[in-house]
């Protein structure tokens, strides 16, 4: 994937975890972000994932993802405040809108939108981490074994997608140099202009697919039973992180089950109890363990080989 940059990737490889650990971590965060309604717990998850992202040196990339997320957050908030009429703290009473009635913006609806947006930011951050920390080849190895053909197809698709994107950009540049105008105003004209580029892309991709298949054939693909070079290693770091994930998930289930992580926005915002702050901090701490490893390894490199 072209999002990988050499030095950063090497650094991440040194800090790498078993792909199952990564998938469990990311899966648990997504599950909990959907499970919790309490904004404090969502904020705690968001901060924990953010700290892990920063510990991998992915701050710049994260900001890019957050920019997209903030756009969505604004949309969610606006739709919520305009459509939801619940809430007792009125911030603004506006004119009557057709089909919506009188505009009534409440503090509670605004906070609800903010809570939903926070949930979205957690999920977007998880996606950012997935893109940069779990290499597709390692995912393929995980799928490997009996389903090697599926894994190889997936791997080739992952490799070819950025290549096709590059090809498409190059082809449109070439076509522009031949006088093709991609800035046409009308949609119909735009489609008409893009067709030649798509045709070239299709033809070139078919040629490349043929060459790749030939290369695979020449290197003995499909000979029968194959061996596997890389076995993913389970290390102490994986076990510690999985224990923390399990602890975090079980604790969350208990908290939600016992009503200690419940939250209601309407008709008035529920007040936050001190104990809820403690629990949310604890959940957050359980999910920043990978970041602790990353920082620990930077400070004491010898720890890498020990855990």
């Amino acid at each position: 994937m072209n999002v990988y940059k050499q030095k950063e990737e090497q650094e991440r490889m040194r800090q790498r975890l078993h792909p199952v650990t990564v998938l469990l971590y990311l899966g648990a965060v997504v599950f909990l972000s959907l499970f919790f309604a309490h904004p404090l717990f969502l904020l705690s998850l968001f901060i924990a994932v953010g700290i892990v992202i920063l510990s991998y040196g992915l701050g710049r990339e994260w900001v890019g993802y957050l920019k997209v997320g903030l756009g969505f957050l604004l949309v969610i908030m606006m739709v919520n405040v305009l459509l939801v009429r619940a809430g007792s703290t009125i911030l603004f009473l506006g004119p009557t809108l057709p089909g919506l009635g009188r505009m009534r913006i409440t503090w509670e609806a605004l906070c609800y939108g903010l809570g939903m947006g926070l949930r979205l930011l957690v999920i977007i951050s998880v996606f950012c981490l997935l893109m940069y920390v779990l290499h597709p080849d390692r995912l393929i190895q995980l799928l490997g074994g009996r389903s090697y053909k599926t894994a190889l197809t997936l791997g080739l698709s992952l490799r070819l997608f950025p290549l096709m994107r590059t090809d498409f950009l190059r082809i449109t540049e070439v076509q522009q140099c031949r006088g093709v105008n991609y800035r046409a105003q009308k949609k119909r004209d735009k489609v008409r202009q893009i067709i030649p580029a798509l045709r070239v892309l299709l033809l070139s991709s078919l040629e490349r697919a043929f060459q790749l298949a030939e290369s695979l054939q020449a290197r003995g693909y499909g000979l029968g039973r194959r061996s596997y070079y890389a076995r993913q290693k389970w290390r102490l770091r994986d076990k510690i992180i999985i224990i923390c994930i399990c602890g975090g998930v079980l604790l969350s289930l208990w908290l939600v089950g016992s009503g200690q992580a419940a939250y209601s926005y309407y008709p008035r915002l529920q007040s936050v109890k001190t104990v809820e702050i403690y629990w949310s901090v604890l959940i957050g701490l359980l999910f920043i363990v990978p970041a602790c490893f990353n920082w620990g390894w930077k400070k004491w490199p010898s720890l890498r080989s020990r855990i």
């Binding site: 994937m1 072209n2 990988y4 940059k5 050499q6 990737e9 090497q10 490889m13 290499h135 597709p136 080849d137 190889l152 791997g155 080739l156 992952l158 490799r159 950025p162 290549l163 190059r170 082809i171 540049e173 070439v174 522009q176 140099c177 031949r178 006088g179 093709v180 105008n181 991609y182 800035r183 030649p196 045709r199 070239v200 033809l203 070139s204 040629e207 490349r208 060459q211 790749l212 298949a213 030939e214 290369s215 695979l216 054939q217 020449a218 290197r219 003995g220 693909y221 499909g222 000979l223 029968g224 039973r225 194959r226 061996s227 596997y228 070079y229 890389a230 076995r231």
Partner: protein, 549 residues
């Protein structure tokens, strides 16, 4: 017993009536370094694919005759045994890399052979060290340069430890340094490990002297099969074959009976006869003072990609009508970025590019198509219509230009008339290249930009392209060309600019730049360096010197 024996081999690709290979007979010995040469589409690639078992297994089609490897008919050899025995590296590294990580790519073939992990680890370590790939083992292949990608492919094939290594133009996309490195590795494998090497290569100056045997093909047949390079040179000179490296060609043309194969041999041959400083070539001096219309001005241009890579810094360039400038430099030096910046495809992050006094950024890219033609590295990117004629007319339609006699004129000029109604993608590499060039030239631009147009072209086609470009130059059009082909640049360009790390480090007449460079120097220049006063870079200049003996 011959190690590889081909008997009366004939092959037809599916759906074709003309054979790609006709009655091929060939015997090769174990450990030989075989150079396979011939024009584009002569059957070289088909022959090596047959030796690797890809023809007919992968391609289908009709095949006749026999191929024996160590006395065993290839069709009776099991596929695992054949894959272990024959390794093949193709032309384009991008279309051979399967995995996205270097280490995974290195082990792919070995995994397919079912080798044990301990053995794979040892071989990965060995090829990693031998090819200096160890620091890149965990890198993504997409991040590697073209030279490194080709090395990864070669290492991946060699990790399978084949007895026969087949290379189909492995250096065609590499700069001179990277190409030299790959061929050095191949030579060492042949010399130190006795590996049988079959190499297809267009730039013969790189490898001619390495060969134990040279096989020349034409129209699906073997026309020469020689172990004596001297005999082959004599034959090529007598027959006027273009498949000779520049150095033997120079000596043969100059009437020498003793033909050297390497620069070292050539210098030895002439150094006794030349007394330093006495030979001065009476070169036709051109009117340098008379500069024509200023077309292009590049002023202090810098370009930084979004990922922070500074591709260009402080580029200054003035370009006049009738100039023919070749940009050279290692892979990733910023050459293509500069071309794209000049063409308006990239906006400089600093500085200005002006064409005819107007800033390039003032008009959209497509509006410059009548003034600046651009031929990219991939001729295939231009081709999608049912006929060659329609491909050429497509540009005229876009530019609202009349479909007048210029289409027929270009078809004639570029030798494409007989293909006018053919599907362009069915044509050979050289023919496709000419079609793409025609689609650019049809707009009659004042400046023509060409990015590596000689890639994959044989000597004949390169000479043809060079002459076309010189004709355009004579007609007052300006040529800006990027190539790794030093010999081509020396023969046809007027000026050379060398680029590295985003800057132009040297620019001047080709004689000044090419005569004293280590790698960016043609064979002729290396031959005469420090032996004659004048810088000699072209065959014609070299001939003038040699004829004085």
């Amino acid at each position: 017993m011959a190690f590889i024996k081909v008997e009366d081999l004939t092959y037809y690709y599916p759906g074709t009536e003309a054979p790609a290979l006709k009655g091929i007979n060939l015997s090769l010995n174990r450990g030989e370094f075989v150079l396979l040469v011939g024009s584009s589409g002569c059957g070289k690639s088909s022959l090596v694919r047959a030796l690797a078992g890809l023809i007919p297994d992968f391609y289908g089609g009709k095949i006749g005759g026999h191929i024996y490897l160590e006395g065993q008919e290839i069709r009776t050899i099991t596929r695992p045994a054949l894959v272990k025995k024959v390794g093949m590296v193709f032309q384009d590294p991008e279309s051979q890399l399967i995995m996205s990580n270097v280490e995974q790519e290195l082990v792919l073939g070995m995994e397919n052979l079912g080798l044990p992990v301990s053995l794979m680890k040892r071989r990965v370590m060995e090829v990693g060290e031998a090819f200096s790939l160890s620091p890149y083992r965990q890198h993504s292949v997409n991040e590697l340069s073209g030279g490194l990608k080709q090395k990864v492919v070669l290492a991946s094939v060699l990790a399978m430890q084949p007895e026969i290594l087949i290379l189909d133009e492995p250096t065609s996309q590499l700069d001179p340094v990277a190409g030299e490195e790959i061929l050095t590795i191949v030579r060492k494998l042949n010399e130190d490990q006795g590996m049988t090497v079959i190499l297809i290569e267009q730039r013969l100056e790189r490898c001619f002297h390495l060969a134990d045997r040279v096989v020349v093909m034409d129209k699906g047949r073997i026309v020469q099969n020689r172990t004596s390079l001297e005999e082959l040179v004599t034959w090529a000179v007598e027959e006027g074959s273009p498949f000779l490296p520049p150095l033997p060609k120079l000596f043969a043309k100059s009437g020498f009976t003793q033909i050297p194969l390497t620069v070292k041999e050539g210098r030895k041959l002439i150094s006794d006869k030349i007394e330093e400083t006495k030979v001065v070539v009476a070169e036709e001096k051109k009117d340098e003072g008379k500069k024509q219309e200023l077309l292009l001005q590049v002023e202090n241009v810098a370009y930084t990609y979004e990922n922070g890579v500074e591709a260009l810094t402080g580029i200054n360039l003035d370009f006049f009508a009738g100039d023919f400038l070749v940009l050279m430099g290692e892979n990733a030096a910023g050459k293509t970025t500069l071309l794209k910046t000049i063409r308006g495809l990239l906006q400089p992050t600093k500085g200005t590019v002006r064409f005819g006094g107007e800033e390039i950024k003032e008009r959209p890219v497509e509006e410059w198509a009548k003034d600046i033609g651009y031929l990219s590295q991939h001729p295939g990117d231009y081709l999608f219509l049912p006929t060659v004629r329609e491909e050429i007319e497509f540009a005229l339609d876009n530019l609202h230009l009349p479909k007048d006699s210029r289409v027929n004129f270009l078809l004639e000029k570029l030798g494409l008339t007989k293909f006018a109604e053919s599907y362009a993608r069915d044509l050979s590499t050289g023919e496709r290249q000419r079609v793409a060039l025609a689609t650019v030239l049809v707009a009659e631009p004042k400046l023509i930009i060409l990015d590596e147009p000689t890639r994959g072209l044989d000597y004949e086609l390169k000479a043809y392209l060079g002459e076309i470009l010189q004709d355009l130059q004579q007609a007052g059009q300006a040529i800006l060309l990027v190539t790794h082909d030093v010999e081509f640049a020396a023969e046809y360009a007027t000026e050379i600019a060398l680029m590295t790390q985003g800057t132009i480090i040297a620019k001047g007449k080709k004689e000044e730049i090419l005569s004293d460079s280590t790698f960016f120097s043609p064979q002729v220049a290396k031959l005469f360096r420090n032996l004659v006063v004048d810088p000699i870079v072209t065959l014609e200049q070299g001939k003038l010197v040699l004829e004085e003996f």
